[in-house]
C-alpha cells in the first residue's frame, strides 16, 4: 500500500487497476472476435499436430479398456485383485475417483452462476463437458463389476419373474439414483447451455452435412427475444436444481462407506469431507485440461491468468479442507477412545499401506500450499504439475480409504495385503483413454467455450459501465 500513499496522486488508469481486477476477456475488441476464435476450431480442416498425437494415444488406451472389459466379461471378476478381506478394490476406487472429478462441472456451472461469479464463463463449458465424460467413466465401473453383466437390468426396479426388488435400505441403491440424477441434470445443463452456440456453428457452417447436424442439435434456435428469455429462465431453473446436487452426489457416494460399520468408514465427517475432496479433484482436473487446451487452441484471452489464479485459490482452499478432514479423522479416532478406530488409523499411517497414505498427504495437503505465493499461482508449468499431483493424491485418497480399512478387519486371521492385478491397472489406464477420447472429440467438434456467455462479461455488453455485478471474485 505504501506504493499508493496518496490516492489523489494516482492517475485514472492506476485507480481503475486498483479498484477493478483485470478484465475477464483480454485482447478481444468485439463480440465477433470471440465467435471467431471459438468457432474456427470446429470449422478448421485440420487440427494442430498435437491433437492427432493425443487422440491416437487416447484411442490406444480406449482399446486397452475394451480388451480388458472383454477379458472381464468372458472370464469373470476373478481377473481383478478383489478378494477377501479387500472385497472392494480398484472398481470402487476408480468409481469414486471419477465421480469426484465430475464435481467441478456442476460447481462451476451452477453454484458460481447463482453467486454471479463472472469468471465462470470462460471455463464452464469445458468443465461441464469434463463432468459428463468423468461421470461416464465412473458409471462404467459399477456396471462392469456386477459379474453377470447381461442381467444388469435386475438392479432397476422393474417388476420381474423373480419377485426381486432393489433394496431401498442400501446406500448402493441411493448411489444409483444420486449419480443417475447428477448425470441427467449435468447433461441437460451442458446441452441446453450449448444450444445458442450450436446455432452459431450451424449458421456459420459451409457444408450441407454440418448445417444439418448442427441444425438438429441447435433445436431450431433463431436467437429471437423470446428464445433468449426462455433460455435464461430455464438456465436459472436448472442451476437452482443442480446446486443441491453438488452437495448430494458425493454425500451419497460417501454413504457407501459411512453407512457400513467398518472402522475408518463409519464416520459422520464423510459427506462434507467427500464433497470438499470432490471439488478439489474436479478443479485440479479442470486445470490439467484447460492449461494445455488454452495454449493449443488459442484461448489465452478467454481463459486468462486470472481464471487460472482463481482456480488455484479454490484448489488451495479445498485442499486445506481435505487436510482438516484427515486430521479430524485422527483426532476422532483418539478422542472416541474406540480401540478399533484407533488401530485403523495407526495402521493407515504406519501400516503396510503407509506408502499410499503419505503419497496422498504429500499430494493433497502439502503440494497445494505453494499457491499461497502469487508467483506460484502464475507459473503455468508449476500449476500443471501440481494439478496432476492433486489428481494422483485424490486417487490415492480413495485407495487409502477403501483398502486400508478392509485389509486388516476385525478378524486378524483374515488379514491380507491387497495387490491389484495387471487387469486392474490396465482397466484404470483404459478409463483415461475413454475420458480423453471423448474430451478430444468434444474439443474437435463442439464449442469449447460458452460463446454467448463470454460475450456477456465483456465491457461492450455493458454500455453503461460495469456496475460491479459481473467482475467481482
Amino acid at each position: 500500500m505504501a506504493k499508493y500513499a496518496n490516492v489523489n496522486e494516482l492517475s485514472d488508469s492506476q485507480l481503475d487497476n486498483l479498484l477493478e481486477p483485470p478484465a475477464l476477456v483480454q485482447n478481444a475488441e468485439t463480440f465477433h472476435d470471440i465467435t471467431e476464435s471459438v468457432c474456427s476450431i470446429a470449422e478448421a480442416d485440420r487440427m494442430p499436430r498435437s491433437w492427432y498425437v493425443l487422440f491416437t494415444l487416447a484411442l490406444c488406451f480406449l482399446g486397452v479398456l475394451g480388451a480388458m472389459i472383454f477379458h472381464l466379461f468372458t472370464t469373470g471378476v476373478g481377473v481383478w485383485g478383489n478378494n477377501q478381506p479387500v472385497a472392494w478394490g480398484f472398481p470402487i476406487v476408480n468409481f469414486v475417483f471419477w465421480v469426484g472429478i465430475g464435481h467441478a462441472g456442476t460447481l462451476i456451472s451452477a453454484v458460481l452462476y447463482l453467486f454471479r461469479q463472472g469468471w465462470r464463463t470462460g471455463i464452464n463449458r469445458f468443465s461441464e463437458a469434463m463432468t459428463i465424460f468423468a461421470v461416464c467413466c465412473a458409471g462404467l465401473f459399477p456396471a462392469i463389476h456386477v459379474g453377470r453383466v447381461w442381467v444388469i437390468y435386475w438392479v432397476f426396479p422393474i417388476p420381474n419373474q423373480m419377485d426381486m426388488w432393489p433394496n431401498f435400505r442400501s446406500p448402493l441403491l441411493w448411489d444409483v439414483f444420486a449419480v443417475g440424477t447428477y448425470f441427467t441434470v449435468s447433461l441437460l445443463f451442458w446441452y441446453m447451455g450449448m444450444v445458442p452456440d450450436l446455432a452459431t456453428q450451424r449458421d456459420r457452417a459451409k457444408t450441407k452435412l454440418r448445417q444439418f447436424l448442427y441444425g438438429i442439435f441447435a433445436l431450431g434456435w433463431n436467437g429471437s427475444n423470446r428464445h433468449w428469455h426462455r433460455y435464461e429462465r430455464a438456465y436459472l431453473l436448472l442451476a437452482a436444481l443442480a446446486t443441491p446436487l453438488v452437495l448430494s452426489v458425493h454425500s451419497v457416494v460417501s454413504f457407501d462407506f459411512a453407512v457400513a460399520q467398518i472402522p475408518g468408514w463409519h464416520t459422520t465427517i464423510f459427506p462434507p469431507y467427500f464433497v470438499a475432496g470432490a471439488i478439489f479433484s474436479g478443479f485440479a482436473m479442470v486445470l490439467t485440461l484447460s492449461i494445455p487446451a488454452r495454449a493449443l487452441f488459442g484461448f489465452k484471452h478467454i481463459i486468462t491468468m486470472r481464471h487460472i489464479e482463481l482456480m488455484c485459490k479454490v484448489i488451495m482452499c479445498t485442499g486445506m479442507l481435505v487436510g482438516y478432514a484427515y486430521a479430524m479423522e485422527f483426532f476422532m479416532a483418539w478422542y472416541s477412545g474406540n480401540r478399533y478406530e484407533g488401530f485403523t488409523f495407526v495402521n493407515r499411517a504406519f501400516g503396510p499401506y503407509a506408502w499410499a497414505y503419505w503419497t496422498m498427504v504429500s499430494c493433497n495437503v502439502i503440494s497445494p500450499q505453494i499457491f499461497w505465493f502469487k508467483r506460484a499461482r502464475r507459473c503455468i508449468p508449476l500449476i500443471f504439475v501440481i494439478s496432476i499431483f492433486v489428481n494422483i493424491g485424490m486417487w490415492f485418497e480413495r485407495f487409502v480409504i477403501t483398502v486400508t480399512s478392509l485389509n486388516r478387519d476385525f478378524l486378524p486371521s483374515s488379514w491380507n495385503y491387497f495387490s491389484p492385478t495387471i487387469v486392474d491397472i490396465l482397466t484404470l489406464a483404459g478409463s483415461f483413454g475413454l475420458f480423453f477420447t471423448l474430451f478430444l472429440l468434444f474439443c474437435r467438434w463442439l464449442p469449447q467455450v460458452a460463446i454467448s456467455e463470454v460475450k456477456n462479461v465483456m465491457p461492450s455488453a455493458h454500455p453503461h459501465g460495469n456496475h460491479g455485478e459481473v467482475n467481482h471474485d
Partner: protein, 216 residues
C-alpha cells in the same frame, strides 16, 4: 444466412414423443416381466433324448415307482439319473433285440453313460434340494407335472424364482401326506388348503425365504 430449421411437419412428431415416453416404460416392463421370464422361455421344453424312453409306459402303464430309478431323491439334493445297469435289470430279458434299445445295450457293454439331456435345469447359483421337499410331502407332480402321462418329458412349471417363492410363502395347497409323494394320481378327499394347513403343522414345515436358503 443459410439456417437449417426443422421443417413444419416435424411439429407432428411431438405428440408422438409423449406416446413413446408413456408407452416405453410399459413396454420395457412387459419385456422384462414376460419376455425374459422362464415361463415364456422354458415352459414346454421337451428335448429329444438319445434313447426314446417313455415315462408314460414305465411310470404310468407299468406303475413303476419314481424311486426305482431316481434312487437318491429322498436322501440327497439330486434325484439322480439311473445308471444303465438299472435299465438292464429288466432289459437283459425284455426286448433284448429292440433297435430302440441299441444305445442302452451299447452303453452296458462299453460302460459309457447314455448322454441324457437335462430337462429341468436350474441356474448354477440356485441350490435346490430334492430330499428337503420330498420328505416333507411336496410331491414330484408339483414341479414336474404328470410325468406318468408323458411320452417325452417336458418342462411344465416355469421354475422361476417368483414361482419358487409363491410356494415358499404359502405351501398349503402343494402339500400331501408323505407316503403319497410319488403317487402321481393322488387326490385329496377334503379341501387341500385345509389338509395342507394340518400337514404343515404336523410335519413342522417352515419354508424359508431368505437369500441364502437357495443362493449359498
Amino acid at each position: 444466412m443459410s439456417q437449417y430449421h426443422f421443417p413444419r411437419w416435424s411439429n407432428k412428431i411431438r405428440p408422438l414423443l409423449a406416446v413413446v415416453a408413456l408407452a416405453g416404460p410399459v413396454y420395457l416392463t412387459g419385456i422384462v416381466l414376460y419376455g425374459a421370464s422362464p415361463e415364456t422361455l422354458n415352459v414346454g421344453y421337451a428335448p429329444e433324448q438319445p434313447v426314446p424312453f417313455s415315462h408314460k409306459l414305465h411310470a404310468g402303464d407299468l406303475k413303476m415307482d419314481c424311486r426305482y430309478c431316481h434312487t437318491t431323491v429322498e436322501e440327497s439334493a439330486q434325484a439322480s439319473i439311473p445308471p444303465t445297469k438299472t435299465c438292464m435289470n429288466c432289459h437283459d430279458r425284455i426286448h433284448t433285440e429292440s433297435p430302440r434299445l441299441e444305445k442302452v445295450r451299447e452303453s452296458a457293454k462299453t460302460g459309457q453313460s447314455i448322454p441324457w439331456v437335462r430337462v429341468h435345469d436350474l441356474p448354477d447359483y440356485a441350490y435346490f434340494d430334492h430330499s428337503a421337499h420330498v420328505t416333507k410331502g411336496v410331491s414330484c407332480v408339483e414341479c414336474h407335472g404328470r410325468v406318468d402321462q408323458m411320452d417325452v418329458v417336458e418342462q411344465v412349471a416355469p421354475l422361476s424364482m417368483g414361482w419358487c417363492l409363491d410356494c415358499h410363502r404359502s405351501p398349503e395347497s402343494h402339500l400331501r401326506p408323505v407316503d403319497e409323494v410319488t403317487n402321481m394320481s393322488w387326490t385329496s378327499e377334503i379341501d387341500r388348503e385345509e389338509l395342507g394347513a394340518k400337514l404343515r403343522e404336523v410335519n413342522n414345515i417352515h419354508p424359508r425365504q431368505d437369500c441364502s436358503t437357495c443362493h449359498r
